[in-house]
Amino acid sequence: MNLTRRQVLLLLPAAAAAWEFVKAGTPDQAPNYNMDEHWWGMLLDITKCIGCGSCVRACATENDVPDGYFRTWVEQYHREDWHIEAPVVSSPDGGKNGFPPGKVAGGKNFFVPKMCNHCVDSPCTQVCPVGATYHTADGVVLVDYEYCLGCRYCIQACPYGCRFFHPTKHTADKCTLCYHRISKGLTTACCENCPTGARQLADLKNPKDPIHEFLKTHTVQVLKPHLATGSKMFYNGLDGSVR
């Protein structure tokens, strides 16, 4: 086929746009991934979460999460004035379909996205009788579905309610931090689909990751710090009423 200079000039921008698209959908090959170079966590910015539920839907689709169970979910908080110990919380269907418009006037209202905290000192891995749930070298807590007995001790041990008993696999299940994606250079499904950037995957071993600057300049907290689980889910703007 003979192409004129004019045709090439017309095709080039289209090809460039198509190449960008291909690159976005084609992750790096896993053999390039070195576990020791990463230490994964996440930044969850409560001031940015609008409770749309995109993250919950994206997670369910990406990871084939059965209905009624959640690898991630969003909670809606309402607290009156100084009643910090008695917030009103709801999470209809894990916030998968968003939330109805608020009816309660006054007080403080906000959304809290939740997921596995990928704790460094995770109570769930500690109690597993066969070590079927374990830490990867890059700081992710995973479950070996071929090995899990289904005793559910880990579900009891998780203080955050992040684990569930998979109804068809008959094993424990939870967020994998989209390990199949992050180990190929992509971000997690929930981060990718958050329209406001309330969730940001963070590589704590990467000195260029913006998380370091963020952690230095913001008031950041983890959930239930008194349990000393070494959570790597960092919340910006976390209210004291959040459990």
Binding site: V89, G131, C148, R163
Partner: protein
Amino acid sequence: MEGFMYPNEVELQWSVLIVLYPFLTGLVAGAFILASLERVFRVEEVKPTYRLALLTALAFLIVAPMPLQLHLGHPERSLEMYLTPHRASAMAMFGFVYMWYLMAVLLLEIWLDYRRDIVLMAQASTGAKRLLYKLLSLGSDNISEGALRVDDRAGWIITLIGIPSAFMLHGYVGFIFGSVKANPWWSTPLMPVVFLFSAMVSGIALVLLMYMVTSLLRRAPIDMRCLDTIAKYLFYTFVIDFTMEMLDLIHRIYEADESFRSLDFMVHTRLFLSQIVLQIFVGTLAPLALLALTQLMKFPEIVRKRMYAVAATLTIIGIFAMRWNVVIGGQLFSKSFLGYTTYKLEFITREGLLPAIVLMILPFFILYVLIKVLPPWHGENTGATPAETD
């Protein structure tokens, strides 16, 4: 559901089968500790129940892991706990405690105690029965005085090892719950202690009842000295158990930490019947009052028998309620302390009421078989004189 639960918490993970498991192991540990009283501490009065207690412990120990096995999502992988145990896991280590207790303590002690009878029964019987006893003797048919002395000595040492093993068996069950820091209903260092003493209470009560029932069935007279002594031990152990439980309760009420309001509400609503009514009033205060009365006043024999029987039955109901309140109660509230769920007990399902009932009856059936094969009453069915070695 009431209030707010984390979405994955709505489903309860540990069912009535997991209630059965500490209940059954508790009966084992308690029965064994009662048996060891005679063997190690020379409490001669409880001698008539020694062998019965050992066989009861064995029957319940055989059934104890069955509810766990039924509960597992992948029961076919359960052996992995022994092959590739995770050393940080209390549950994995419990598997070894269980095996140690079954193989090294209970089976060995029973075998040593019965060896003389087994050899005599093999000699006195024919056919399949003879073969069975030959097999049970494991080819060790020397019942000379010297050999029996060795049996006795070895049995004594095993019982000595068996007491801390029995303590560990049930203390460990308590630790499995007590070490879950995510759950304030469970997380207390008192849990293993409370489990241990409640185990002793339930085991002693069970042996007391079994002794009365088997005597009745055999139309044999009940040794009142034995019964009074067991009742006395039941009372003392129960007082310690109740003190520990009250200490835990008072500590929680006084400290009133972040979980208290939630747990307090649960006890006054969803657990009111099983905790306040069944566990504390019916299952603890009533039997304690009955037993205290028998210690303080002199009642005729027949009255004492009835009081003991009622007290022991109520005790077992109370301890079962305690296991229920720990296991099920610990899952009824949200770890956010903002809501509550309910437990719906199904009937004919894998983890329903029917398998639970079958698993409760099974130990009695096994005990019946064990009693038939190894009669615990001295000199019966064996043509032998009472064994002097036990």
